[in-house]
């Protein structure tokens, strides 16, 4: 019977408008590799951030080898034996390998404030040997490729075991996203070796890999435990089922109001390509149509949408609006084409939080409130009041800063902004993220209403259910290419399982 080295007990964490984790439980045993899977927004990253000390849980506890711990910083977490190899590499490229391995922990080599580089180099060589990496520790990190850097990160994490007398608990967050086939096999062989002296949590969207390398698998869904599986007794289908099992509630997405798109093509995209991000993306968007892109991190869907919004120009391909070719090389070009972008990061790209509702709505087109060259505060106020009423925006007053509005109401301001410019196409990037349930339904209602008026939508939804419930058509994307086009008419909606197999 192996010892339990890490236990997560009834951990909950709430963010404004959303319960990210709801009494989750997890156990990792000595010399075990445990997989953690779930959709975007299922709560995986939140849990990881709690484990490494970046967030504090609202409730519940974390126990390392039976003792409750509450790390308040990443350094504290590593002192308890918990550390993470990040998805977005965390090495400093202008430092050498040995400096990165011991970053923040140079005390062992320091005497009277001076670092003994020779000693550090010897130690670094020892750590690199643990992961079978034959590399001069004096190499500058920027010279290494991604796969090697990942190994260095792993070495950094394992180096901790010499400081804490216990075996480390290593968390790997999407470690294979930057690796190709051979490198993944190499990583796995090293992980097998590492297993003998550590406990590992392996988080990944690539279910085949999770099935290959782990001993047990936890499935999260909507911030809760959805299942605990023994790897050799399960398969991809069971994992899929647990990941998305909730029944689609048809009327939540106002499917009754879904309309058939019109004949007119509003945007025609041909062979849109951006090296490293997406390739040969082609589609037609019709008036009144809602098209969703379904895909995991790295699928390229966000990048395609940003290209159409003028924020991240494509390298090649053609975009035509109402028949004429267009270069969308800046947001103002996109706006002129009638495209309104509702970004994922509302507070940074969608709204100027320190301005009130009126100034935010009028920003793309001040001519709405300009009389004879001067802005009219009265016109602006009237405009703000109009939109507050029309969109049912709940605000303390028209002068309230957008900062003080709830997520759902902020989103309504963003939508109002574009509606005021007579937008023809909405690009919605995770539009209901951070929005409470009631407001979500209002947004869905609004989308249906606008589609009826002929406005077309490109949508990246938060969940597969949202994708399926809202769309007329779903494009699944994987590794930068459209892998399938699935129709989703109101009376014959596809199942999440039909989508997932093309996404992962």
């Amino acid at each position: 019977m192996q010892d339990i080295v890490l236990e997560v007990r009834n951990i909950s964490k709430k963010f404004p408008g959303v319960q990210a984790l709801d009494r989750v439980n997890l156990q990792v045993k000595q010399h075990e590799i445990v997989g953690l899977v779930g959709e975007n927004g299922a709560g995986k990253s939140t849990l990881l951030k709690i484990l490494i000390g970046a967030y504090q849980p609202d409730q519940g506890e974390v126990l390392v080898r039976g003792k409750p711990v509450r790390p308040r910083s990443v350094k504290e977490a590593t002192d308890f034996g918990l550390s993470m190899v990040f998805q977005e590499q965390s090495l400093l490229s202008n430092l050498t390998v040995q400096e990165n391995i011991f970053l923040g922990n140079e005390e062992a080599f320091t005497r009277f404030g001076v670092i003994n580089w020779k000693k550090m180099k010897r130690e670094a060589e020892k750590q690199l040997a643990k992961v079978d990496l034959d590399l001069d520790p004096g190499t500058y990190t920027y010279k290494l490729n991604f796969a090697t850097r990942q190994m260095v990160e792993l070495a950094r994490v394992i180096a901790m075991e010499d400081r804490t007398k216990f075996e480390p608990i290593v968390i790997l967050d999407e470690p294979t996203t930057v690796l190709d086939g051979n490198e993944i096999d190499l990583l796995f062989s090293r992980l097998h070796k590492l297993k003998e002296r550590a406990a590992i949590i392996f988080v990944s969207h690539h279910l085949e890999e999770v099935l290959k390398i782990t001993d047990r698998i936890y499935v999260f869904k909507d911030g809760k435990n959805a299942g605990e599986l023994i790897t050799r007794e399960t398969d991809v289908n069971e994992i899929h089922r647990l990941m998305v099992g909730r029944e689609l509630r048809g009327e939540y997405y106002r499917q009754g109001k879904q309309i058939k798109p019109e004949e007119d093509v509003v945007i025609k995209v041909e062979n849109l390509t951006k090296s490293g991000k997406y390739k040969d993306v082609s589609f037609d968007l019709h008036k009144g149509e809602i098209i969703s892109f379904a895909g995991v991190l790295g699928s390229g869907r966000e990048d395609v949408c940003r290209a159409l919004a003028g924020l991240d120009r494509a390298d090649g391909g053609k975009i035509s609006i109402n028949g004429s070719k267009l270069e969308i090389d800046s947001p103002s070009a996109a706006i002129k084409a009638g495209i309104g972008y509702v970004p994922q990061d509302r507070g940074v790209e969608g709204l100027v939080l320190y301005l009130s509702i009126g100034p935010n709505i009028t920003l793309p087109d001040l001519s709405n409130i300009t009389h004879r060259g001067f802005l009219s505060p009265k016109s602006e106020r009237r405009l703000a009041e109009h939109w507050i009423e029309r969109m049912s925006i709940k605000a303390p007053g028209p002068n309230a800063l957008c900062l003080n509005l709830s997520g759902g109401n902020q989103q309504k301001v963003v939508l109002s902004k574009w509606l005021a410019t007579k937008v023809k196409v909405f690009i919605l990037d995770h539009p209901t993220r951070g929005v409470d349930v009631g407001a979500k339904e209002e947004v869905y209602e609004l989308i249906r209403e606008l589609a009826k008026q002929g406005i077309a939508f490109l949508l990246i939804a938060d969940t597969l259910e949202e994708t399926i419930g809202l769309s007329n058509m779903i494009f699944t994307m994987k590794d930068g290419e459209i892998t399938n086009r699935i129709e989703a008419p109101a009376d014959n909606k596809p199942l999440p399982i039909d989508l997932i197999k093309h996404m992962m």
Binding site: S332, L363, G397
Partner: protein, 322 residues
């Protein structure tokens, strides 16, 4: 809307940063009038205002830059260059000298603005460099000696320092600039975009605003107003020199911050800078009366800037302070 709702709405939109500067001013005025009974006499107050006119105009220009979340360190040498240009060209161009000085200001701002936006150099560095450049050029052009305007040409300058209706014309000019910048800030696209960029540049960019263009306009405005304040200076000093605007940079930044315009950008405005100037006016008088060494007064303003920023900076917006 009921009175209570109005009060609640007001409370939710105003913070102590809005109220502090005026409260400080009121407290200082009260202290001063207790300490010196002649303080509140109109003659005294108007005299103080005319002394502060230069600082006000400079501060108004800097306000737009700080609203952007940037800084312009070159305003003092630009003002000094304007005094030199004015003094040198009056004999030949008469009033035209002032026009040239203003055009110079616009040009200096254009240069800084282009370097900042197109070469992507932080405003701190771009304007620091400009500061060095204009200081050096100022010394070269004036041969490191003050240039005086002869009595024969004096009439070009005195119209500013003369009184109309008992008030020095310089005060009218400064107030005219105040009104102009107030309109620019609140009633034009330019003003709106500056505020939006300072409060959220990315969102402003996504809304289709030509960020670089308006930043350049802001730097042009700031330098032109710096040149204007230089012109006011030259009329008071009857001449021009490269050292004429020494010490103004610190005070110009102080009046913007003290007035409540946040260093992080987006919040504040010219009226606040006006309050800041009034505070400095009163503070100056107090220090002079208390016999504080003028050099020490620079130290005082340095300390005030640090304190005012520490109190008003919104740390939630800038998590990494460099």
């Amino acid at each position: 809307m009921s009175v209570q709702t109005r009060i609640n709405n007001y409370r939710k939109t105003k913070t102590w940063v809005d109220v502090m500067p005026i409260a400080t001013l009121v407290v200082l005025v009260i202290l001063m009038s207790i300490g010196s009974p002649r303080f509140l006499l109109p003659a005294n107050l108007l005299g103080l205002l005319s002394q502060s006119a230069t600082l006000l105009v400079m501060g108004l220009g800097q306000t737009f830059i700080i609203l952007l979340g940037s800084i312009d360190l070159s305003i003092a040498p630009v003002a000094a260059m304007a005094t030199i240009i004015a003094a040198m060209l009056i004999p030949d161009l008469g009033y035209g000298a002032f026009v040239v000085a203003l055009l110079y200001g616009a040009f200096a701002g254009l240069l800084t603005g282009i370097i900042h936006t197109k070469a992507r150099i932080p405003s701190f560095i771009a304007t620091l460099g400009a500061m060095g450049v204009w200081t050096g050029i100022g010394f070269i052009v004036s041969n490191a000696t003050p240039i005086s305007v002869s009595l024969a040409n004096g009439h070009y300058l005195t119209w500013v320092t003369e009184n109309t209706l008992g008030v020095s014309n310089v005060v009218y000019l400064a107030l005219a600039i105040l009104i102009l910048t107030f309109v620019l800030e609140n009633y034009t696209r330019f003003g709106r975009y500056v505020k939006a960029m300072g409060a959220g540049e990315k969102a402003t960019y996504v809304s289709g605003v030509a960020i670089d263009r308006y930043k350049i306009y802001a730097f042009m405005l700031c330098s032109t107003l710096a040149a204007f304040s230089g012109i006011l200076l030259s009329t008071r000093m009857s001449g021009g020199s490269a050292r004429m605007a020494d010490g103004f940079l610190m005070k110009a930044i102080a009046v913007v911050i003290l007035g409540g315009t946040a260093i992080s950008g987006g919040i504040g405005g010219v009226m606040r800078t006006f309050v800041g100037v009034l505070i400095v006016m009163v503070l100056d008088m107090g220090m002079n009366m208390a016999g504080v060494n003028p050099w020490f007064q620079q130290a005082v303003y340095g300390g005030i800037i640090i304190l005012a920023v520490a109190l008003t900076i919104d740390r939630s917006r800038i998590s990494i302070i460099k």
